[in-house]
């Protein structure tokens, strides 16, 4: 690859799509979409869930065949790409869900299936050569770990670096990052954005898909906005801004973050109190924390700082190793999640698809599940009672679905999250714990979920929100508790909210 002729490099796109159309049963996923990517260009691709981003990625990866349109890669026009064709022309993907074997080491992952072999009939892997091949790749992505590190011991950002190194190993010319930062804490996100800049410096193009608009703002040379399968607009570098992107994404201006009323709220009585709680993740570090009625307490911190583990103890999934829990001043013993639910302590878990809902069950069945005996007569489920409860939640929360009998697996992420909320809202929460409640959710649904949390707090519920999204923590919380390596490193009141203070506490330093 030679990009010395910059005039050609700047004018000839590496990839261009023209009038690409793709329909699925009942849906037009892409409707005459066109875009181009020039060598060494970082494109920010944004759009609400369901705007057609995934379909676009599938077409570029050769997994899906478009109905019509042209895809030109490196000067060659195609009707469609095959998986091999896509890979062969240097298009590499780093998916939101990483495709690494965590039981193998870094080198084995990068060259999986393409290992250098030693001479001889046994086809043994030449481990020495493998290491020398991997080292420069790791250096390029700025990795601070070695080739023989087991992937299981790496952080998420480091695993993403391995994926990017893998892309470099096939001499990728276009790296597509699908929501790479959605599960990364702030400090690690910075590293990843640096890697993107390094790729760009090497003349490699990048398509960066993200819901986190301020990150797009930081790295993109150009932003392409998708809406309803169509190109809603392209923003040149000078015009990239949060509000412009949102406007194009939803077709109107939206006050995204619901501002807490400026009048100071009188804090309510303590609902849930943790007294020197020790969790299995950090057995040597006791946690003290009060969640008060009527407040949204933001729980910030780096991924791995022990926030989710604390929530699991509050919800009775894990048993505490020491300390005591109190609910409304009375001792609270939790042997299982069922005990927590019986006390009105509910959790909206981090992993919606694995633990939040049952994808194969209908909306109504999911919503009634925690409170099924109340929807039954003589132990027999009453489907009319079930439907009534679900209809009410569907209406209150604005769940978009043909009916409450719809399988939740077919809903968008935001609507699935609303089903999770609906099942708890139907049963009078006392303490509501939400773990990354808006991850992977589009902007419109995000605002609605913030509104719901505020309404819960106003109704006297104690709301504990775990979030790695700094803007969200600062914009939504009434108080912010920050965790660092298993302990609460500090609690900020509203007048001391700032990104800097949260970050300082998250890395274990004192705020200003």
């Amino acid at each position: 690859m030679n990009y010395s002729d910059t005039s050609i490099a700047a004018t000839t796109p590496f990839l261009s799509l023209e009038n690409v159309r793709k329909t699925y049963p009942g849906v037009v996923a892409l409707d005459g979409f066109s875009m181009e990517v020039r060598p060494g260009e970082v494109i920010g691709l944004v759009g609400e869930n369901g705007a057609g981003k995934s379909t676009l990625m599938k077409i570029l990866g050769g997994v899906t065949k478009p109905d019509s349109g042209t895809i030109t890669v490196d000067g060659t026009a195609h009707d469609r790409l095959s998986v091999e064709g896509s890979l062969g022309s240097g298009i590499a993907f780093v998916h939101q869900e990483l495709n690494l074997f965590d039981n193998l080491d870094v080198a084995a992952n990068i060259f999986f299936g393409r290992e250098p072999l030693r001479a001889g009939p046994l086809r043994l892997v030449d481990r020495a050569k493998l290491r020398t091949m991997v080292a420069p790749l790791l250096k390029r992505v700025g990795a601070n770990f070695s080739a023989d590190t087991p992937v299981a011991t790496l952080s998420l950002a480091q695993q993403q670096m391995v994926e990017i190194a893998k892309a470099l190993s096939i001499e990728a010319r276009l790296v597509i990052l699908d929501e790479p930062t959605s599960s990364l804490p702030l400090a690690e996100t910075d590293k990843l954005l640096d890697v993107i800049k390094a790729l760009k410096a090497d003349g490699i193009s990048v398509i960066f898909i993200s819901h986190r608009l301020h990150e797009v703002e930081r790295v993109a040379d150009r932003v392409v906005v998708l809406r309803d399968g169509m190109l809603a607009g392209t923003l040149p570098k000078s015009d990239i801004g949060h509000d412009q992107m949102v406007k194009l994404m939803i077709g109107r201006m939206l006050k995204e973050r619901e501002k807490a009323s400026e009048a100071a709220r009188a804090p309510g009585a303590t609902a849930l109190a943790a007294k020197a709680i020790r969790t299995p993740a950090y057995p040597g570090r006791p946690v003290d924390l009060d969640v008060r009625r009527g407040e949204i307490l933001g729980l910030a911190g780096l991924v791995g700082s022990g926030r989710t583990e604390l929530a699991r103890v509050f919800f009775g999934i894990d048993s505490k190793l020491g300390g005591a829990l109190e609910l409304d001043g009375k001792p609270l013993a939790l042997a299982s999640a069922a005990d927590a639910v019986a006390q009105g302590i509910f959790l909206v878990p981090e992993d919606r698809k694995l633990t939040g809902i049952l994808l194969d069950l209908s909306i109504a069945q999911n919503i009634s599940l925690p409170n099924l005996p109340a929807h039954a007569r003589r132990s027999l489920v009453s489907s009319s009672a079930e439907t009534a409860t679900a209809e009410k939640q569907k209406k209150d929360l604005g769940i978009k679905a043909p009916s409450v009998q719809t399988r939740t697996g077919t809903l968008s992420g935001g609507n699935q999250q609303k089903v999770v909320l609906g099942k708890w809202l139907a049963m009078n929460p006392k303490v509501m714990i939400l773990d990354e409640p808006t991850r992977g959710i589009d902007i419109g649904a995000k605002a609605e979920i913030y509104g719901l949390m505020r309404a819960l707090a106003d109704a006297g519920v104690a709301v504990l929100m775990i979030s790695s999204d700094m803007e969200e923590v600062i914009g939504v919380s009434d108080r912010i508790a920050v965790m660092h390596e298993g302990q609460i490193s500090g609690i900020l009141d509203k007048d001391r909210f700032s990104q800097e203070n949260v970050l300082l506490l998250a890395v274990g330093k004192q705020p200003k």
Binding site: Y24, L354, G356, L359, L361, P370, S379
Partner: protein, 331 residues
């Protein structure tokens, strides 16, 4: 009745018609009565298995439990002189205890169902053989239990009472599986145990209950089998019965991953298996081929079902694409 169940029913009727044409003895009342007796015996067993499979588990010790509890039952009433109703209840309680033990090992000690019940398969068979000194448990000459014999091996209006028992149990268990809160929990756990737990369901208790139900139904069928054979050599009695039960569930549309299947399905699966056994006998196929025929039919059945699903999905896609394309053209 789902489409899957309906397909299975049609298959049963078609196979039945073919066998009847080739060998009209198939429709003789004596043959039908014998076959429906066996359907009753194996059906009770298979329903129990189905409750475990729906949670994503498996129960491999069924055959050995049939041998052990059958041996004990005959020993209790024929040798130890226990009243049969007492022995009857005692055997059911023993079945429940076995299920409880399995469920406890699986949910509390986190052992895999396959491992736990495989060990059960070996242990109960061994205990049964030891108990009889590797002999045969049976009744002495002239020993009679008229009421018990009527209930288990007798007939009402020509219909075997074991078959009637199956129908009663099926109706009760249908309600439990498809209409009750407990049934909903079973499906939820089978689909995604973790999510069920996060919804506040005490998943451990529900899974244990499934194994207890399986244990009790297996114990009940053990009594029926004992009264049907009237003598038991524990080394071979009930061998492979767990596989009949699993096969019936799989034929009936159950997924071994859990969360899928219907009660009607497992009953129809049992009916088809017994029909095949009968077919082997009536069509003069060497009985040594018995298992091969069963295995072949199950394989074909599962294959057809799976391919049919793929075909239907594709047709739906094509239809919908056509519809949206013509809709777009109309605009």
């Amino acid at each position: 009745m789902s489409k899957k169940d309906l397909g299975l029913l049609i298959l049963i009727l078609v196979v039945g018609a073919i066998v009847a044409i080739i060998n009209p003895r198939f429709l003789l009342p004596i043959n039908l009565a014998n076959t429906s007796n066996l359907i009753g015996l194996f059906g009770i067993l298979s329903i129990g298995q189905a409750f475990v499979i729906i949670t994503g588990g498996i129960e491999l010790s069924v055959g050995s439990v049939v041998a052990l509890l059958g041996t004990l039952f005959i020993d209790f009433i024929a040798v130890r002189g226990m009243g049969w109703p007492v022995a009857f209840v005692l055997i059911l309680v023993l079945g429940a205890i076995i299920g409880l033990a399995h469920g406890w090992l699986i949910t509390r000690l986190k052992l895999q169902p396959f491992v736990v019940t495989l060990c059960g398969l070996l242990i109960y068979r061994g205990v049964a053989r030891f108990y009889t000194g590797d002999g045969t448990a049976g009744f002495a000459f002239g020993q009679n239990f008229p009421d018990l014999e009527f209930l288990t091996a007798g007939r009402s209006y020509g219909v075997p009472n074991s078959f009637i028992a199956l129908i009663v149990i099926s109706i009760v268990m249908w309600v439990v599986l498809h209409r009750s809160v407990f049934g909903r929990y079973l499906y939820a756990i089978g689909k995604n145990e973790e999510a069920a737990k996060y919804s506040g369901i005490r998943t451990g208790r529900v899974v244990i209950a499934a194994y207890v139900i399986c244990g009790v139904l297996t114990a009940l069928s053990a009594i029926y089998f004992a009264m049907y054979t009237r003598s038991i050599s524990p080394a071979s009695h009930g061998q492979f019965y767990e596989l009949y039960a699993i096969a019936a569930a799989v034929l009936g549309g159950f997924s071994l991953r859990g969360g899928e299947g219907s009660l009607i399905g497992v009953i129809l699966g049992t009916v088809l298996l017994q029909e095949l056994q009968n077919l082997v006998n009536l069509l003069g196929i060497p009985s040594s081929l018995n298992f091969a025929v069963m295995g072949g039919v199950i394989l074909i059945g599962v294959l057809v079902d799976q391919q049919w699903g793929v075909f239907r999905e594709r047709r739906l896609m094509v239809d919908a694409t056509r519809k949206s394309a013509s809709g777009a053209a109309a605009e």
